[in-house]
Symmetry: C2
Subunit: 363 residues, 2 copies
DNA sequence: TTGAAAGCGGTACCAA
DNA sequence: TTGGTACCGCTTTCAA
């Protein structure tokens, strides 16, 4: 295309047909009161002249402002803070559409999330980005908002049977499968491995177990899986459960911690001088893990790319709101496997985040 | 922020100060002929009222069209086709800025690229996305265009000492390091490993070697590295060199192919019944690799995320052109390690691409 | 040094 | 069913 050769506008189409721009506009937008024949001629001419609406003009005239809510848990901070950054980054990079974003937080998944969703009046927002807790409980609120015309986008977790318009998360099944393969390749003699998760009624956690168990059987038949441990995302529980696990199975060769709650597990291993001997696979990346990865005490961690999740969720929502592009039913990102060697590529982001947080606290 | 509460416009600032909008505009844009005191008052008031220019209005008035060139090699198709997709996807998702994109291809890196760059007149494009071949040779053209006001963005490779404004690629050093760590963890007895690359005067290839060698020494001292093999991206060469390699080192335990030119290597291994016995680590992902990964014949492949590279390059360029945001000197993406277990997350994209290509050829 | 006003390309209201 | 036109917020020309 030649530089500056701009596509035809509504006037060009009107002039070419000797009619008014008002009629052309009506024809384009299927508004009532246009002779079908006229409409057909307009559309044909538009095609011929390669008509492309000037979005700047449209947006200026309509002066529509999009209103988007982003409701996320405070906990787990190391995950949701960068996720929010991703949303902000995507929101900040938008030109030509005016957007109000309301950010709000609640203590943790399952605590305050439902109340917040339920408090949103019909039609208050054009879109909402949120992390569903128990799908069954949040579905009514999601469906009500969705039916009232609010585009609901799940991030980090999903409520697949609700009427949300899109969901962005890491592929949990594949995360579990990857964990199985990595442990299987690293532990080459016969042995047992354990999995420590949050709670199995959380879809994400159940999927990880499914992926882990299935692929352990398939790809690492020399490893047998101990009964799964649920730590309920509590540090206390994780400590207790891990001690228990090690007492009953002192020979465990590998542990897969499928949530961010890995520090208590690592602490127990350290106490028992097992750190570096038992192969540990973690989930997510935060400051405390960095030295452990650098020192080779942890095999790897499955980084769930919170920044990318937030950015993607916002992009999908915006695209839907502006152009009514129906997104995929679910977007499943690939987790990054972070070993010692590729850690520098991820550590910078985590560290600068930790530093920024420290500065914000006045350090 | 309340719904619909829109930020202050130029009029609001003018009214608040009792002056005309023309003066306010002049103050904002540092145009000559404004009393410095007036200017200061305007800026202060803008701050206070939280003035945000309406980009739709600006863009409508200025009626600027951005003109962007995307010049990429035809070869290696499996890499550059999705990269181009990424660019298109990013370009297609822009509202509020009118953009002309000129896509053009040349046979392969080092063949026609320089001529194409040199053929661009000063000022013809606002920005160019391209893959530099030999940095030393392309620098003059890059610098000339850059100085003429064309924002030059390198993708897939880099010319770090040129005056390009940004570069997006996979971190080559880390790719090599990752390869070393993966082979080191998988091959647990003493042995030798080989690396097959393109040509060492290509920066990307040299960096991968650096990362591989350094981290092999550091993380896998039980593995020794054979002299590196340069296949010059030719299938013939790769066949010949691999046969040679295996003849001289029948005991080789692992091979790292650091370019997409892995099929000839795999063919030789197959011939000699070594596939599945020698641990092979590949680079990039294309249809032929899928069954080999699924069958466990290849340890893994380092996926260089061409789609993400293209998308990122376009986003960075656009952000610079629209908002004059100076990008990072270089953006280095993390390669994805694709094993058998997480392959499904990547294979879909590759397969649908291959299918689309087949359809385009009339199959 | 400052102000008034035209106009970018659509949309939507009112009139015919 | 169609046409005329005001207006969105900003840039820019011309006049004061």
């Amino acid at each position: 295309m030649e530089k500056g050769k701009k596509p035809a506008g509504i006037k060009d189409v009107a002039r070419a047909l000797g009619i008014s721009i008002a009629t052309v506009d009506r024809a384009f937008h299927d508004r009532p009161g246009v002779n079908p024949k006229t409409r057909a001629r307009v559309l044909a001419m538009a095609q011929k002249l390669n008509y492309r609406p000037n979005l700047a003009a449209r947006s200026l005239k309509l002066n529509r402002r999009l209103s988007i809510a982003v409701y996320l848990p405070e906990q787990i901070h190391s995950f949701f803070a960068p996720l929010l950054e991703g949303v902000r980054s995507a929101a900040g990079g938008v030109f030509g559409v005016e957007i109000d974003v309301e950010y709000r937080t609640y203590p943790r998944i399952g605590e305050g999330d439902l109340a917040l969703l339920e408090s949103i009046p019909d039609g208050r927002f054009d879109g909402v980005i949120f992390t569903p807790g128990d799908p069954a409980k949040s579905e009514p609120a999601i469906n009500r908002l969705s039916r009232s015309g609010t585009a609901m986008v799940c991030v980090a977790s999903d409520a697949p049977h609700s009427e949300r318009i899109a969901a962005v998360s890491v592929d949990a099944y594949v995360s579990g499968a990857l964990a199985a393969e990595l442990l299987g390749r690293t532990i080459q003699r016969n042995g047992t491995v354990a999995m420590i998760t949050g709670e199995l009624h959380v879809l994400d956690h159940a999927e990880k177990l499914r992926g882990f168990a299935a692929n352990l059987a398939l790809l690492a038949p020399h490893l047998s899986l101990l009964p799964v441990v649920e730590s309920h995302e509590s540090a206390q529980e994780a400590l207790r459960q891990t001690r228990n696990l090690l007492k009953r199975n002192p020979e465990v060769a590998g542990i897969y911690v499928s949530t961010a709650n890995s520090l208590p597990v690592l602490r127990v291993l350290e106490e028992q001088q097992l750190l570096g001997k038992v192969q540990v696979l973690c989930t997510d990346l935060f400051a405390e893990l960095i030295p452990l990865l650098e020192g080779g005490r942890i095999l790897a961690t499955l980084y769930q790319r919170p920044f990318a999740q937030g950015k993607t969720a916002f992009e999908i929502l915006l695209r839907y709101l502006v152009e009514r592009v129906r997104p995929e039913h679910a977007t499943r990102l690939a987790p990054h496997t972070v070993f010692r060697s590729n850690l520098p590529l991820f550590a910078d982001r985590v560290r600068s985040k930790a530093r920024a947080a420290a500065e914000a606290r006045g350090v």
